[in-house]
Amino acid sequence: MSANYSPSEMMTIAAARALKNDDVCFVGIGAPSAACNLARLTHAQDIVLIYESGTIDTKPNVLPLSIGDGELCETALFTVSVPEMFRYWLQGGRITTGFLGGAQIDKFANLNTTVVGSYEKPKVRLPGGGGAPEIATSCGQIFITMNHSKRAFVEKLDFITSLGHGKGGDDRKKYGVTTAGPTKVITDLCVLEPDPKTKEMMVASLHPGVTREQVIEATGWAIKFFDKIAEMPPPTDKELKVLRELHARTKAAHGEAA
C-alpha cells in the first residue's frame, strides 16, 4: 500500500472498485473515464465501456480528451451513429451503470450542469446537460463522481439538469422512471449511498484519513452518516501504478498531438 496519493486519485480508485466485471458502462469524460478504464485494467477486464459518441466496447490505451477521440473508435468493437446510441443502446435499457458529474448536487443526488443563478439571466452559463437527463433515467444505476465542496454540494440546486432521487422516497416512479438512479456518489472525501427508504444520500464510507468533520464542513446541507461507516481501503500499489501509467500515457499523447 502506498501513502503517497492524492484525494483525486483516491476518488477515481474508489469509483473503479465499485465497478463489476459484467457491467456495461456509459462513460463520461474525466474522472469516470479514468475510473472505468482503471477497472478494466485491474479487476474487471471484461467490463464493457460505451461512450456517447457511439463507440461500443472500447478499450482505449490513453484516456480521451473529448468524448469522441479517435482512440475510442479505433479500439472499439464497433461504432454506431449518435441517434442509434441514444435510441437503441441508452433508451433501449442496454446499460447497467451510467456515470454523471456536475457543478452542483443536492442531497437527493439531483444534478445541475446548466447554470449558476437563474436560467434566463445566469451568473455562470455552464455547458448544459448533454446526455445527462436521459443517462440519469435510462441506465440501471448511476454513479456520480465529484469533488466535495460547499459550493458544489448545495441545499438547493439553481437548476435541475438531471433527476437523481427527486424529492426523495419513490419520487422517481412519479416520472415513470423504473431504474435505480444514483446508488453511489464518490467524492474525494467519501462515498455516499442512498438511505433505502428516504433516498437521501448519506455517508457510507470515508476515505483513509478523512474525518466526519471534514465531510460536514465540505457539504452545504446537514449531511447524515450511516450507523456503520466503513473506511475505504487506501489505493493498492497496483491501482496507483496502473492509474498513473494511464495518466502518463494520456499526457504524452495529448501533448505530442500538437
Binding site: 479517435g70 475510442l72 461504432t79 448533454g130 436521459e134 433515467t137
Partner: protein
C-alpha cells in the same frame, strides 16, 4: 445531384444570410474549413444548430454570424467553457444571441426525425428534469396503447447542412467512417448540403456492404479540402489536435486575442491552409 466545386463557390451558392444550418460532426469530422469560409464571406443572422457547438460555433458566434444557437452541450470538450459563446450570450458581444437548449437524446432524435421526414421526434426523455420548463419546444405526447407519457421535440429541418467526410467518388457519392455522429441525418434533414472531403477517388473500392454512404442525389456540393476538419480529425487520415483544443481556451478567453487569431488564421488564409494539418497524419 452533387457538383464538385471550390469552397468559396459552394458557400456562395448554398448559404444565405438568415439560414438555419447545421455544421455537424460529433467531435470527429467537424467541418472547420466550411466554418472559416462562412466567416470570410461574412454571413449574418444564422440559426446555428449543433449538438456540441465546439470551437466551430465559438468562432462563428465570436465573429457575429449567429442570432440563435440550438444545442445540447455547449463546452470545449475536456477543457472548459466556450468563451465566445458565453461572451455573446452573457454580454451581447459582438451581438446578442438567443439559445434553444435540449439534451443530446432530444437532438439526436430530432435529427433522426428530420431525416425520416417526420414533423417531430418522441423519446423517453427529460423525466424529472427542468429543461421543459424553460424550452417551449419540449412537449409531451401520450402512447395511444399504454398511456405512457413521452417527450416530443420538433424535427430538425435545415436550409443547409455542412459536413466533412473522408471520401467522395467521381459520381458524387460520399463515404463516412468511424464516429459518424448525426452527419447522415443532418444532410438528409437539409434542403442543401455542402460536403468537404479529404480526397476524391475514382471508386471507393472494396468495403463493407453496410458502409455509411450518402449517395450523390442527396448531396448538393462537394469540395476537396484535405485537413478540412482540423483541429477536429478524420479517422484514417489525421488525429484530433487535442493540444489546440486546450490552447483555444486561452485564445478565446479575451476578445482581442480571439480577433487577432481569426484575422491571422481565417481572414488571411484560404481553405488550402488546412492541407498543412492533413500532412501531420499518423
Amino acid at each position: 445531384m452533387a457538383v464538385v466545386q471550390k469552397l468559396a463557390e459552394a458557400i456562395e451558392a448554398n448559404l444565405h444570410d438568415g439560414d438555419t444550418v447545421a455544421m455537424e460532426g460529433f467531435t470527429h469530422l467537424i467541418p472547420f474549413a466550411s466554418g472559416h469560409e462562412i466567416i470570410r464571406q461574412k454571413r449574418k443572422g444564422l440559426t446555428l444548430i449543433r449538438m456540441t457547438p465546439d470551437l466551430i460555433y465559438d468562432q462563428l458566434i465570436g465573429m457575429g454570424a449567429a442570432v440563435k444557437m440550438v444545442f445540447s452541450w455547449g463546452g470545449n470538450p475536456g477543457v472548459g467553457s466556450l468563451h465566445r459563446f458565453r461572451d455573446a450570450y452573457e454580454n451581447g458581444w459582438p451581438n446578442k444571441i438567443e439559445i434553444e437548449e435540449h439534451s443530446h437524446a432530444a437532438m439526436a432524435n430530432a435529427y433522426d426525425a428530420g431525416a425520416a421526414g417526420l414533423p417531430f421526434a418522441m423519446f423517453k426523455g427529460y423525466r424529472g428534469a427542468e429543461l421543459p420548463r424553460v424550452n417551449p419546444n419540449i412537449k409531451e405526447i401520450k402512447c395511444p396503447f399504454t398511456g405512457e407519457l413521452l417527450s416530443a421535440v420538433p424535427a430538425v429541418k435545415l436550409d443547409v447542412a455542412f459536413i466533412h467526410a473522408q471520401k467522395a467518388d467521381r459520381d458524387g457519392n460520399v463515404l463516412l467512417e468511424g464516429i459518424v455522429g448525426v452527419q447522415k441525418e443532418a444532410v438528409l434533414a437539409a434542403k442543401r448540403s455542402v460536403v468537404t472531403v479529404e480526397e476524391i477517388v475514382d471508386d471507393f473500392g472494396p468495403r463493407s456492404p453496410n458502409a455509411v454512404i450518402l449517395p450523390h442525389w442527396t448531396v448538393t456540393s462537394i469540395v476537396k479540402v484535405p485537413g478540412g476538419a482540423h483541429p477536429s480529425y478524420a479517422h484514417g487520415y489525421y488525429t484530433r489536435d487535442n493540444a489546440f483544443y486546450k490552447q483555444w481556451d486561452t485564445i478565446a478567453r479575451d476578445r482581442e486575442s480571439f480577433s487577432a487569431w481569426i484575422d491571422e488564421h481565417v481572414m488571411r488564409k484560404g481553405p488550402d491552409a488546412f492541407a498543412a494539418f492533413a500532412k501531420r497524419a499518423v
